[in-house]
């Protein structure tokens, strides 16, 4: 479903952290949200997920999200916070099964056949099937990130919001996570991922959204949104650019 925002604004503690953001992201696209620290990236995701009060309007397909209750919204929006938190040593399968929570699958021991299939599918896609019975707290950072991603995919939500899903991962796992998000988008979801890695954004994203001081600076294809003048103005950097296998290579240079 197409995600559309109109004049989305968030004020936290009297400070405007997101100002008048208007976006239009078609379904089936992976959008990277980039910007310096404090640009409002996380606030944008939290506003979209309904975790923080916001002004303006958010549409997913035909439905206006702010008009929905917490549960109805949870079925449409899957949110992956930073850090892949798991407070108790639950087996990885039970963590993934929490993705079915908004659909009524509240007990991982008593999932219906549809819920079980969604969990198994999400674990296959993220390569976590072999981890199913291991306590999530003993997994490595990369494994935990993929389990967290599986939880989000298991929800089958048309809108996926991931906050720095590649942070603290080694390069191979970063690429795996971006590929998984891309695949999820190809399967029909609208996927938004916050990242600090401009290289990953340029290579994997279909759309890039650039934020600075809470305002939308640029949005569009990676080429356009990460153009030299944008990088100079927002990040104060120049980039080395190349191409490999038809995909853009972007390395922050000076």
């Amino acid at each position: 479903m197409t995600l559309r925002t109109e004049g989305l604004s968030v004020t936290l503690g009297g400070r405007r952290v997101l100002a008048d953001v208007t976006l239009d992201l078609p379904a089936g696209r992976l959008a990277a949200i980039v910007g310096p620290n404090g640009a409002g990236k996380t606030s944008l995701l939290r506003a979209l997920a309904g975790l923080v009060g916001s002004r303006g309007r958010i549409f997913l397909g035909a439905s206006e999200l702010s008009g929905l209750g917490t549960r109805a919204r949870a079925r449409l929006v899957a949110y992956l916070p930073q850090g892949h938190v798991a407070h108790w040593p639950l087996p990885a399968r039970d963590i993934v099964a929490l993705g079915r929570f908004p659909h009524g699958g509240r007990d991982p021991g008593r999932l219906g056949p549809g819920d079980r299939e969604a969990v198994a599918q999400a674990m296959r896609v993220t390569g976590t099937t072999a981890l199913a019975d291991r306590p999530v707290t003993v997994l490595s950072g990369g494994e935990r990130a993929r389990v967290a991603l599986a939880r989000v995919f298991a929800a089958g939500a048309p809108l996926v919001l991931a906050d720095e899903p590649t942070a603290a991962l080694d390069p191979r796992h970063q690429i795996e996570v971006m590929r998984a998000l891309q695949a999820r988008a190809r399967a029909g979801a609208t996927v938004l991922a916050v990242t600090h890695d401009l290289g990953l954004a340029a290579r994997f994203a279909d759309e890039v959204v650039v934020l600075q001081d809470g305002a939308l600076v640029a949005a569009g294809s990676p080429d356009a949104a990460l153009a030299d003048q944008v990088l100079a103005r927002v990040f104060g950097i120049e980039a080395f650019r190349a191409e490999r296998d038809g995909a853009p290579v972007l390395v922050p240079w000076s």
């Binding site: 975790l51 949110y79 407070h87 108790w88 040593p89 039970d94 908004p102 007990d107 021991g109 008593r110």
Partner: protein, 338 residues
Amino acid sequence: MVRSRRGAGASAALAILAVALAVASLGIGPVRLAPGTVVAALLGQGDEAARLIVREIRLPRAVLSLAIGGILGLSGAALQGLLRNPLAAPSLFGAPQAAAFGAVATLSLGLADALSYALPLAAIAGAFLSVFLLLAVAGREAGLVLLILAGLAISSLAGAATALAMNLAPNPFAALEIAFWLLGSLEDRSFRHVAMALPFILFGGALLLSERASFRALTLGEEAAQSLGVEVGRLRLVVIVGVALGVGASVAVAGTIGFIGLVAPHLVRPLVGSDPARLLVPSGLAGACLLTAADIAVRIIPSTTDIKVGVLTAIIGVPFFLTLIVRERRRLAAGLAA
């Protein structure tokens, strides 16, 4: 699935143990009765004296130990689930102490006698205030250190307020009576006490159990749980009310009995796993077993004066708490650094 079967098996075993302990509890006292005699008396058979002793004198005590132990174990598991923290428990956060203050203030000011409903209501109000204050002071996503410090402050405040109430007591006998009552005991309780406490305990327990799935979602943190459809603000309120009802009513009839809520969840985690939803019922049953066993112990430990059951649970509970701290030391150190 295997895990839920294991949980059900543990619950069944704990329930059988609780019943066995209750029967043993009914047989112990100045007149020792064999389990067969106890069961016969419960069913209205056997001789009249045994029936009277079991049904009128000892049954209220056994019912209260099961109910109070149960709600304390359940409250501990619920608080640990809400706060995602294995060191959370009503007694560490000053809930029983604050409930005791509510009850003591009511008694020493002469607002109510020990058998009126004003007593549990005052105790519930005290417990509610303490848990509410704790969550308000500690805030969202509270770290361990913050929770423990806030809990320490609240329980000290409640202790000081109780001391003040005793200080202002009309006569030394009243103060002494309050002091003994504070130690926590189930001696000489009647069905009047059961009627005062049980409805609140059952309602509080039902509230906590109704949110079991939400505790599981909270494993992912508050924001993720909210994004899954859990209304975290409402959940906090439900837990505050549930814990306050249960702990307040318990304290009103039995004084302060600590550490059951801390110990019970830890005892059952090895049996049923860490899932905070699956922990609630077994933890309540374990609490019921613990308090009933402790209440049997205080009657068979030879001593010149009666040992109060609240003293015994604290004597056993505090070293257990210390062991837990040692076990959680690494996490604690990380929390202190953060």
